[in-house]
Subunit: 184 residues, 2 copies
DNA sequence: TCCAATCGTTCGGCTTGACGAACGGCAAAC
DNA sequence: GTTTGCCGTTCGTCAAGCCGAACGATTGGA
């Protein structure tokens, strides 16, 4: 959640995306069906555009709306196996390592899971709209909705709603998996 | 990229998020510092809010701006190892399997990679702003920026810009990895 | 050199979003 | 039954966004 002034972010985004598209201010304004004076003011940071105005600009630029209101990105980051911030469960045999949290607008957190047979990793549902992707790396894992779990082997991929009761447990010792948690 | 009218989407999102937060219309308007008449009109679908108005509502609701302008999501999906749509390279020894493409607003595609020693997987950069996350599953993989690659083992995680020249090659036979490609 | 075209900015007008106040509806307290 | 409080909606006023036109600056061609 960026705390910088949205108007400045939008101004910068508009300029950036327009450059990338190789369009002139006049040309973009014409394609978006807005007055070029309006666009000029927006890019200069003055003005507080309506949603419809921003939307038509997004369409004309061929970019999703959200790219205009969320900022840039990082560089290179390496996390060696076992080095990430690890969350140990007190009641289940697993360790979850957060590899990459959601940048603004990305909405998919990436975890590395190391699971041991025993109890289920999870039973309580998350926030409404959450979706989980799991890709098994080694061993065998039982995952999915509580009432209809699926057994997965190395390379298997499973998608399921995270806002319903669900489980994730190892069937073999030393099971590992990548988990991508997606928020609405 | 949703093509439904943004105003209707926003109206629905506002109502949904407000319900989720358990706030009354009056209470939310007060917290966001806007007139409740304005909020009432927005939720009814009439009105074309300015960015600042929407922004303060997002802050008051504790949700990122983009959640107010992008729609809902899917259910359960299973891809057995080797069953996904696979992209074979003609010049490198690897197979990439697309597990989950970007839903609107998610911006992170998920791939399963099976790599064999030989040539590099990639050298040409992608779209500006692309970021790649790789988590090695088995074997050993050399990945990262062309001029400063990193050797990775099982469980290792690496983040690097995808819009610069980069490589991804196996150092051992039977190397596998999860790749998350993130678009701006 | 002059002209034509396009660039991006600035200036009045008209339209529209945001505001505050008043409204009717509903529930709990007196 | 009446009062009090909060709910969400509607109405009139005011400010601000959006527009079209005119502007100076720059470039390329006749």
């Amino acid at each position: 959640m960026s705390n910088t002034a949205p108007l400045d972010v939008i101004a910068a985004s508009l300029r950036r995306e327009r450059d990338r598209a190789g369009l002139s201010l006049s040309e973009l304004a014409k394609r978006a069906g807005i007055a070029k004076s309006t666009l000029s003011q927006l890019e200069s940071g003055s003005g507080n555009p309506s949603v419809e105005t921003l939307w038509s600009l997004g369409v004309a630029l061929g970019v999703p709306f959200s790219r205009l209101v969320d900022p840039p990105v990082p560089r290179v980051h390496l996390i060696r196996a076992g080095e990430g911030p690890v969350v140990h469960s007190e009641r289940a045999h697993y360790a979850a390592s957060l590899l990459a949290s959601c940048p603004p607008g990305a909405r998919r957190d990436i975890y590395w899971l190391a699971l041991e047979p025993g109890a289920a990793r999870e039973s309580e549902p998350h926030m409404p709209g959450t979706v989980e992707h799991i890709i098994v790396c080694t061993g065998r894992v039982r995952a999915g909705l509580m009432d209809s779990p699926v057994d997965l082997g190395p390379g298997d991929y499973l998608l399921y709603p995270g806002d319903l009761p669900h489980i994730c447990l190892a069937l073999e010792a030393g099971s590992t998996a990548t988990l991508v948690m997606e928020h609405i």
